[in-house]
């Protein structure tokens, strides 16, 4: 028995499925721990009172009714993009071309606003914007999907490259449509006529986006969970062999799913250009095509959980820019805090799936005796 102290101090063992209450308990604990660590880091690095910094974050997201509305609007846009990527991800098709698909959707609606804005009735312009932006996003999704289906090319590279093409196209049209001439950018489109501006609903310019995001959430959930298409997507994602075995045309599913994914990204582009900014720039997406990848993964591809995860990201983001101005800290410090919080949230998944078993105390005592 003397030698048994060679037993490892701890070892890792898989857990069974935990009850929901415990799973969320672990997550809440992770967030609390993250806040504590952030507090320590803040005090050490800046000397500021962490409570005040946290207050600043909340202030940034919900400080005024306008700030609150903008927070929710941003959540809605990020949510739509994340939902757009989700069908592709469920199929294990790593669409990281959200940026490009959004830009193309935005470019299409900008084109409608600029070229048709004063020539056609407004309702028709908006209808055309919807159709063309969804179509443009879908085409941008279709191209990598086609190559993947036909020649099994790597979709990650192809979708990524398509982003750069989209950015260059937008840059080109910025020069073509620049307004006023020589400014090198497109100003607010149709500022006087408001032609092609998406309508306000219930007297609020924010509600349309939020409303659409909720519809898309519900739609994607139903599509993935209950429709035959959704089922095919899951089977193809899990095993192409099995899909072929039951007669599913894998190529067709890949192309169809990417059309849906790209079209939803195009919708986000439409909202950004036609509903929110009323202009287009190469940076209008703000990297959300990539952020959405994280949002979708964090939510484990569950549309409803995505509401939470996109909220979390936007909340941290908006809070971060607030504290960087009020406390005179630069944006990088805010990013450090965001990083710490995400680290804890992602890291806690490990403790949900595994438990750590320490060396049995009783045996230790046995040895001492």
């Amino acid at each position: 028995m003397k030698k048994s102290n060679r037993e490892p101090l701890f070892h890792i063992a898989k857990r069974g499925t935990l009850p929901y209450s415990k799973v969320w308990g672990i997550r809440v604990l992770a967030v609390i721990l993250a806040l504590l660590v952030c507090a320590v880091v803040t005090t050490i690095l800046t000397g500021d009172n962490p409570i005040q910094v946290y207050g600043g974050i909340i202030q940034g997201a919900f400080g005024s009714s306008r700030k609150t509305w903008i927070t929710f609007q941003n959540v809605a846009v990020l949510l739509i993009i994340s939902l757009a990527l989700t069908p592709a991800f469920r199929m294990r098709f790593w669409n990281i071309g959200g940026e490009g698909q959004i830009l193309m959707g935005g470019l299409a609606s900008a084109a409608c606003m600029i070229c048709l804005g004063d020539k056609l009735p407004n309702a028709l312009v908006i209808l055309l914007m919807f159709v063309t932006s969804l179509l443009a996003g879908a085409i941008w999704g279709l191209i990598p999907a086609f190559f993947k289906a036909k020649w099994n090319t790597n979709e990650t590279l192809a979708t990524l490259m398509m982003n750069y093409i989209a950015i260059q196209l937008v840059a080109y049209f910025t020069v073509v449509w620049e307004m006023p001439k020589g400014s090198g950018k497109i100003g607010i489109i149709n500022q006087d006529s408001n032609a092609g501006w998406l309508p306000q609903i219930f007297g609020s310019k924010y509600l349309l986006t939020i409303f659409l995001a909720l519809i898309v959430t519900l739609g994607v959930h139903i599509y993935l969970k209950y429709s035959k298409h959704g089922y095919e997507i899951c089977v193809v994602g899990e095993s192409e062999q099995t899909a072929r075995y039951v007669g599913i045309k894998v190529e067709k599913v890949i192309i169809r799913t990417m059309l849906v994914s790209g079209a939803l990204c195009g919708l986000a582009g439409l909202l950004l250009v036609g509903g929110i900014n009323h202009t287009i720039t190469t940076t209008i997406t703000g990297g959300q095509g990539f952020t959405a990848v994280m949002v979708s993964w964090l939510a484990k591809f569950n549309p409803f959980t995505m509401i939470l995860t996109s909220f979390l990201i936007i909340f941290l983001n908006r809070g971060a820019s607030e504290i960087s101005t009020t406390f005179g800290l630069n944006q990088s410090f805010a990013d450090i805090l965001t990083g710490i919080i995400l680290f804890f949230i992602i890291g806690c998944e490990f403790f949900i799936n595994y438990k750590i078993q320490f060396r049995k105390k009783s045996r230790k005592e046995e040895k001492k005796a």
Binding site: M1, P8, K14, G16, Q241, T242, K249
Partner: protein
């Protein structure tokens, strides 16, 4: 008995995976100079127990003694240091490296391939292995790969050798060769543990058998004092009958006619060469052959998954109308009204989706039904419940992902789903691979019931004893060509075995 030294002694070993208890208070001794057969049904914890010995898992409770001293095995390296080596069911070799490179992989110290090759040769000569140290793994047959695995553990000085279902992929001749090597090792004083489901192997090879049931140690006995029926009863915990019935086919009519079928793989290698045969309704057509000589391609071609270069596959229905199946995908074949069921070799990679639950796996065959854009999960749920009940599937519930179930239960779900669609043709590939004896007989029984219903069954098997017992006719493949078709009631194991290695069989060697 008493003076024998226990090379390994397991005391009160318990291992749980979440709520699942894989091993509970297992006590087991393994002696030097002895071959121990470890028996148990699928999911009874044999592999888990051995994995703890080889450092892959760590026991929750209990102690392991090696040569009388308590040992703590935290990693496979610890196991090697204690002289324990395990050959896994799925080979752990790197295809693009040579035998020598694979064998020295992960060893500490200076890399000296030449010396290693010499040492490998010595080991091979000592025990009678045939390995070319410089051959790449991808050029090797399954049995050569297994030999490399065994040499690998011997090279590291293993005195305690664990083999997890080593014969599952071997031909009878290769199995015999392996056994003679293992016997030599026993004479050399090594302790050998073999996990297998084949009773005749247990009887011919092992000295002692130990039985596990549902994670608990049931008992051990000397092989010479027991028999297959007794061992099976111990494993299952109740009386089971070990006879495969073979009723005469009732009114057999041609159902599937394969004519001049030639299939090339994507690399242009001929996988099937001018294969012609007829499968009749109400009859089991066994297909024998060394693994990889065209069985997979043959079944996949019939199921519409494998394009062919030449030939035809004709389906003839009850009324004598015929349809060409070649060039059609599974969906088109189903649309023609051909009720074709296929139990593929790779259950979780092709037949089922491991991460989906039972209901969703049942849905695979039926999700297209109806014109609604939504799936109907009611019928599959009922089917899942029916399969679980009728085939005694051990599962926590129908919403458990199938990959969590043990091999036998996975196979029951697959076979259950495939026969639920009332097929007229049933293709099965290695239907009982990795299944314990009780599950195997359940599957044989199911297949026989289909035959009695008038289904044309094509049964690809690897266990010749079973093929000879269950098949009405046996088609022997050899290197992608038909070596011959024999009557299952009249042929012998020797005849089929020689046909598997030589086209038409070697008549002169038959006496041997």
């Amino acid at each position: 008995m008493e003076q024998k030294i226990a090379a390994v002694s397991l005391k009160n070993i318990t291992k749980t995976f979440g709520p699942v208890v894989a091993n509970e208070k297992v006590n087991l001794d393994i002696y030097k100079g002895e071959i121990l057969a470890l028996l148990g049904e699928n999911g009874s914890g044999k592999t888990t127990l051995m994995n703890m010995l080889s450092g892959i898992y760590f026991p929750d409770e209990g102690q392991i003694f090696i040569d009388g001293k308590e040992a703590v095995i935290k990693s496979p390296k610890d196991a090697f240091d204690l002289g324990i080596g395990m050959v896994h069911q799925h080979f752990k070799l790197i295809d693009v490296l040579t035998a020598t490179e694979n064998i020295v992989l992960g060893m500490e110290g200076k890399l000296n391939l030449k010396d290693a090759a010499v040492k490998i040769q010595q080991i091979c000569e000592k025990y009678g292995f045939e390995v070319d140290p410089n051959q790449k793994i991808y050029d090797m047959s399954v049995s050569q790969k297994q030999t490399v695995e065994i040499v690998k553990v011997l090279f590291r000085g293993a005195n305690i050798l664990i083999l997890d279902e080593p014969t599952a992929v071997l031909t009878p001749q290769e199995t015999e060769k392996l056994f003679s090597v293992l016997r030599k090792m026993r004479e050399d004083g090594k302790a050998i543990v073999i996990i297998t489901h084949k009773m005749h192997e247990v009887e011919s090879l092992s000295d002692r058998v130990a039985v596990l049931r549902r994670g608990c140690y049931i008992g051990d006995m000397m092989t010479k004092d027991t028999n297959a029926a007794e061992m099976t009863n111990m494993m299952v915990g109740r009386q089971v009958s070990l006879n495969i019935v073979r009723p005469m086919p009732i009114n057999p009519k041609p159902r599937i006619k394969v004519d001049g079928l030639t299939v090339r793989s994507e690399d242009g290698i001929v996988k099937l060469n001018d294969v012609s045969f007829t499968a009749n309704s109400g009859e089991i057509l066994g297909i024998a052959g060394i693994s990889g000589c065209g069985q997979k391609e043959l079944l996949e071609a019939i199921a519409g998954l494998q394009p062919a270069e030449a030939g035809s596959i004709t389906y003839i229905n009850e009324d004598g109308e015929s349809e060409e199946l070649l060039g059609k995908d599974p969906r088109k074949i189903a649309d023609l009204g051909v009720a074709l069921s296929f139990v593929p070799e790779d259950r979780l990679g092709m037949g089922l989706v491991g991460n989906m639950d039972l209901t969703n796996n049942m849905l695979l065959r039926s999700f297209r039904k109806g014109r609604s854009v939504f799936t109907d999960r009611k019928a599959p749920r009922q089917l899942a419940e029916k399969v679980v009940e009728e085939l005694d599937v051990v599962t926590p519930g129908i919403s458990t992902p199938v990959r969590r179930l043990s091999g036998g239960n996975v196979q029951k779900i697959l076979v259950g789903r495939e026969i639920a669609s009332a097929p007229t043709v049933l293709l099965t590939a290695y239907a009982v691979r990795g299944l314990d004896i009780n599950s195997s007989y359940t599957i044989y029984d199911l297949i026989n019931k289909q035959k009695m219903k008038g289904v044309a069954v094509i049964f690809v098997g690897e266990d010749l004893d079973v093929l000879l017992e269950i098949s009405d006719r046996i088609l022997v493949l050899c290197g992608g060509s038909v070596s011959g078709i024999v009557d299952g009631r009249k042929t012998t194991k020797a005849e089929v075995g020689s046909m598997m290695t030589l086209i038409g069989g070697d008549k002169n060697n038959e006496e041997k």
